[in-house]
Amino acid sequence: MSNNDSRYVEIVNLVKAYPNPLGDAIKVVDGYNLTIKKGDLVTVIGHSGCGKSTVLMMLAGLNPITSGDVVVDGRVVDGPGPDRAVVFQAPCLLPWLTSYGNVMLGVKRCYPHASKKDRDDIVKYYLNLVGLADSMHKYPREMSGGMQQRVGIARAIALKPKMLLLDEPFGRLDSLTRMDLQDTILDILDKEKITTMLITHDVDEAVYMADRICMMTNGPEARVGQVLNVPFERPRTRADVTSDDLFFDLRASLISFLEKNEKTRPGDQPAPAAQPLDQGVYEAPSLLDTHAPRGGGADLVLAGSTSGPGQGTLN
């Protein structure tokens, strides 16, 4: 794997701030750093409202970035594009079009020079891939929620995106449909090797589906808390994964991370004043951030690194 493939997606010091009429802008996401290898599936997990979807929307180019960089395959993201396809929790299908028509809509825009037959083949191929070969001419009202979501997934991957962005796509589905659709997506990704970010609240889903799990701290000023590498081989089956002891270790790690985050919300932090020594701890009243420039901070790079988007990069 080339260096570019190992850093196929780079999110560097990403910040999203919203204006606050009563004071300083509120940073919902602050200093979010993440790299994603080509073909990896990264699940993002964190408490409700921590900023997971905000990060995904910035990757999609649907929400402007306040500062920082998002780079996909060497190109800085500066707006939405067909190279990054999004599947939302709601399928958002056009009700007057069949499943075939909904998928064809994007295919026509992405393959303007393809022949009619080629476009037809593409639509049928991807609807078949998501298990809707027999439902191509059904309207959304004639399909279950799971089937509609399959159309949404087919519509996204038919664009042959460099990156697939899934924002809680199983959130509205019952557990059996959810598991079925999880396996469908894993099968597709095993074939298509699309680099994917999946936002989820479900711990089991995060472990089962991911190559890596990005755990986010609570907002405001949310960032990556840690990244967990999931070593299960692909293709993987639910039975194999869930019978592995490591699955339970990883699951426990995620749950305790979330529990700990719940207990340490930003508002719970004590003021950074000198601490009483009868507690055995002394901390100078200064904030670390105010001293950061003296430490050298941003202009330093890890040894053996070369320049990257805004910072040093690892080799």
Binding site: L34, V224, G225, L250, S253, Y282, L314
Partner: protein, 336 residues
């Protein structure tokens, strides 16, 4: 800001108060001689006489022994199997003294290694805690766990999970140390937002976490994490000193964790150390020379707290300067 919590839990306080042995058992400073070999400069052995005797008149070539291995690698190393790397007789001496792992940390000046600090860690018995080296993950802009030592069954699950964890810049304790190139102390890792690595039930015994940036010039080579447990703290006192904002030649305390020794902590209030004229006290001298410093002289801790140190039973002290582009930014002090 350092962390969300600066208070030790009552449990932590009690356990640290009754702790008599530290995970850090001995330390040595090896200097590079003009012939390219390493010779022992100073050592802190406490009652570990066998280890001290095994170092007498020893010279280490590059690649030889613990310090020589770090010299040859040009980067920090951590060994949990001393027999495979230590100079002849030293692994047995360490084992005889209950020391089962060691870290070797090269110090760079002008792009070259000038000395190697070796830290020995206890094992067996009630030992619980760890030392970890976090460095660049392969092909990623993240820190991954490299060589590590986790003592005790209490950290079995924590150790098992840790090898799957990565930290981007700014994430977790290693990522924050990387972000600021600043040593950072977490008084109680279980209550801290800074220390988010967790593994279910594993790791609840941990108390103090110390992250040290290991620099080579202006580049961060790795982050060393020293993890204390309630039963066996890494050291009994952890301190970080920094140049005063008003006078860069005076070190003032930035952060201190004193566990069961609030008297010693109080004696440290308003204390400062000059770095002029060869430096004053343990941190001042380390800053003046920009080299790690080991001492058994309680006067080096500052006259104002010499008695408190004696009353607390402290016998050994170590100062590790964080040097960025030949400028000392911080001095981390460990006392035991």
């Amino acid at each position: 800001m350092f962390s969300d919590s600066h208070l030790l839990s009552p449990t932590t306080m009690t356990d640290l108060a009754t702790a008599t042995s530290t995970l850090l058992g001995a330390a040595e400073l090896w200097r590079l001689d003009t012939d390219g070999s390493l010779s022992l400069d100073t050592g802190l052995y406490g009652s570990h006489h066998a280890l001290r005797d095994s170092a007498a008149d020893l010279r280490l070539a590059s690649g030889q022994g613990l310090a020589g291995s770090a010299l040859a690698a040009g980067r920090p190393r951590l060994f949990d199997d001393l027999a495979s790397v230590a100079a002849p007789g030293r692994a047995q001496a360490a084992a005889h003294n209950g020391l089962s792992a060691a870290a070797a940390l090269p110090r760079f000046h002008g792009g070259k290694i000038t000395s190697v600090l070796v830290l020995f860690f206890r094992g067996g018995g009630d030992a619980c805690g760890g030392a970890e080296i976090w460095s660049a993950g392969e092909g990623r802009f993240e820190l991954a766990l490299g060589e590590c030592y986790h003592a005790g069954a209490c950290l079995e699950r924590f150790a098992r999970i840790s090898k799957y964890v990565n930290f981007p810049q700014g994430a977790g304790l290693p990522g924050r140390v990387w972000e600021h190139n600043c040593p950072e102390l977490v008084p109680d890792v279980n209550a801290s937002k800074t220390f988010l690595r967790s593994s279910g039930d594993g790791g609840r015994e941990l108390s103090v976490g110390l992250g040290l940036p290991l620099m080579a010039g202006r580049n961060l080579q790795a982050v060393l994490l020293l993890l204390s447990s309630q039963t066996t703290p890494m050291a009994r006192v952890h301190e970080i000193w920094e140049p005063s904002a008003d006078d860069a030649t005076t070190l003032v305390r930035r952060h201190g964790v004193y566990g069961s020794m609030p008297d010693f902590g109080h004696a440290s209030d308003d204390l400062s150390f000059s770095t002029r004229n060869g430096g004053e006290g343990l941190p001042g001298r380390a800053a003046a020379t920009a080299e790690p410093l080991l001492t058994e002289n309680l006067d080096d801790l500052g006259i104002a707290r010499r008695d408190a140190a004696r009353n607390a039973g402290l016998t050994s002290g170590m100062a590790i300067p964080t040097v960025i582009t030949d400028t000392v930014r911080y001095v981390t002090v460990l006392l035991w």
